[in-house]
Symmetry: C2
Subunit: 366 residues, 2 copies
Amino acid sequence: MFEFEITRRCPGTAARAGRLQTPHGEIITPVFMPVGTQASVKAMLPRDLLEAGAQVVLANTYHLYLRPGADLIREAGGLHAFMGWTRPILTDSGGFQVFSLEGRVAEDGVRFKSHVDGSSHLFTPEKATHIQNALGADIIMAFDECSPYPCGPERARAAMERTHRWARRCIEAHRREDQALFGIVQGGVHAELRRESADYIAALGLPGVAIGGLSVGEPKETMYGVLDGLMPRLPVDRPRYLMGVGSLDCLVEAVHRGVDMFDCVLQTRMGRMGAAVTEKGRVVLRNAACARDFSPIDEGCDCYACRNFTRAYIRHLIKAGEMLAAQLITIHNIRYTLRFMERMREAIAQGTFADFRDRFLKTWEY
Amino acid sequence: MFEFEITRRCPGTAARAGRLQTPHGEIITPVFMPVGTQASVKAMLPRDLLEAGAQVVLANTYHLYLRPGADLIREAGGLHAFMGWTRPILTDSGGFQVFSLEGRVAEDGVRFKSHVDGSSHLFTPEKATHIQNALGADIIMAFDECSPYPCGPERARAAMERTHRWARRCIEAHRREDQALFGIVQGGVHAELRRESADYIAALGLPGVAIGGLSVGEPKETMYGVLDGLMPRLPVDRPRYLMGVGSLDCLVEAVHRGVDMFDCVLQTRMGRMGAAVTEKGRVVLRNAACARDFSPIDEGCDCYACRNFTRAYIRHLIKAGEMLAAQLITIHNIRYTLRFMERMREAIAQGTFADFRDRFLKTWEY
């Protein structure tokens, strides 16, 4: 059901292209997954996402558990039916959200307060798994403990070991064969812990392995160093998912190190803030410099916004408080990023990814 | 350039179907014009509007004059190019907006304070016309003085007579043959004033006549009474535009009395408030009754929202504060209203509009 096939490798880099089968269709990797936290990728119609080339979207167990509730989504026929998305979905386990909310962690699970109404809730590995079983995403994630940054080796080890124990409990609790459960590697920025965690999670034989706990405040170079250490320990025949990472430079660097899957809220969040993603860095459309700029966000972009509207118009929409600004910039940011992934896949297929990376890093400014 | 042809009349009613030529294409009447106050129909992509069947959109001179300014829009190549809308556009003159802002009216024009930055501005008939010439809409409106409701006959007469004098000044100031200038009938709710105004504006020989100053707080029956009195005085061979009116019952009653064109913010405003337009009345999707309602907003509707999403999902989006709620409900409200217009046009073509109206009024509840 979740066969993963590496279709291309590329000389001079660990980058690889592949395809992952899921009940709702095939995912071509490396892939970027737009984030639909509350069962909606903010400001985009699902058909805008299809047009942009989205293969799979991510939704959040924590948010959907609190509102509208997993029972309601099950009644609706599962998350795909509920949100009108027929392609694959991945749900994360809520581990990262309850970490962000500073929930109280114990061996059984994490107690946290709802951001909606302040009520108290307990997530355990079993509960996070059963909720995800009810939601019905194609790929579900183990419930993990994310260590903060910075974090000393003792605390990072404790979180990592708990993550390992919890991964076993998630496997035990998981009930549906039509959902792939991915394990999560933790270990902070400590190379040895990361290697130990990679070995442990790899040994569980799960259909996919995620790298959690990165992009939580550490310098990018540190993140790349962690990847350098742990990537060679991950099973080559399973998809590797770097959680919560999505700026273009990080995408290139992680693909270069053999990562297959990504998600990030950056694109949609920037869309609502009035900033556009381009390969030369971000374009702050709110700025006065765009007031009389009658060119598109990006000359080379094929998105609906760039084909039809100017920077001047979008800036006007931002200043006027029109929702259309967020709609157009988000469409651009998502399409631009997905096309960037397409171009990386093509470069891998043609054996030119190392060149692609070199060229990209020369023009990139952030 | 602005030929208007009546294609059908219907027995037992003054309803008529027609077509109006404009530089950006033909408008089939009776027509509803979605409102894009600030050069955007709120929460809708222009392609969503095309799909919904929008033939023409309205934009506001007052708003665009203040932000981003008429010069900038002229530099952009005019309003069509600026907002990426290739079909016809109508701009109103700003008369209604400065009236709503309680501007200081004198014979020369209206002095008002900007809602954006509080700065003081003067709109004269000449200025309102020249701004509209710069914006470049297909149809532009005379600058008028709208009387409030309630309003005694002396004050209503003064506003009406000023509107007449201003209409002549607008005709004088108007510079572009590729724009049709419509006159506006005023006169409050006073039947005699309305008839006098209709006769006066009709005699100007303009390519279209609008009815202003209605739907400003008076009971609907009063509005219908005003229409009964004035419609027979308008030239039969020119389009008649009832400004700011758009609830389904008013659309039916005004078409019945021979109105050809409408605009209203109701559909888009309701969309952002979480309420959907249907022929049986509004559906308040925010309500708990919709929480587990897995049916579409309207079973018979062919809009993107009704074809793909349930009331339960849309309610979730509202509760979760997701923009997608406004996007989907607005798409529905606009498409539903435009389809309602299509059905009225078909009924007129088939000579069954009187039946259509009877059936509608039986099921309508608001």
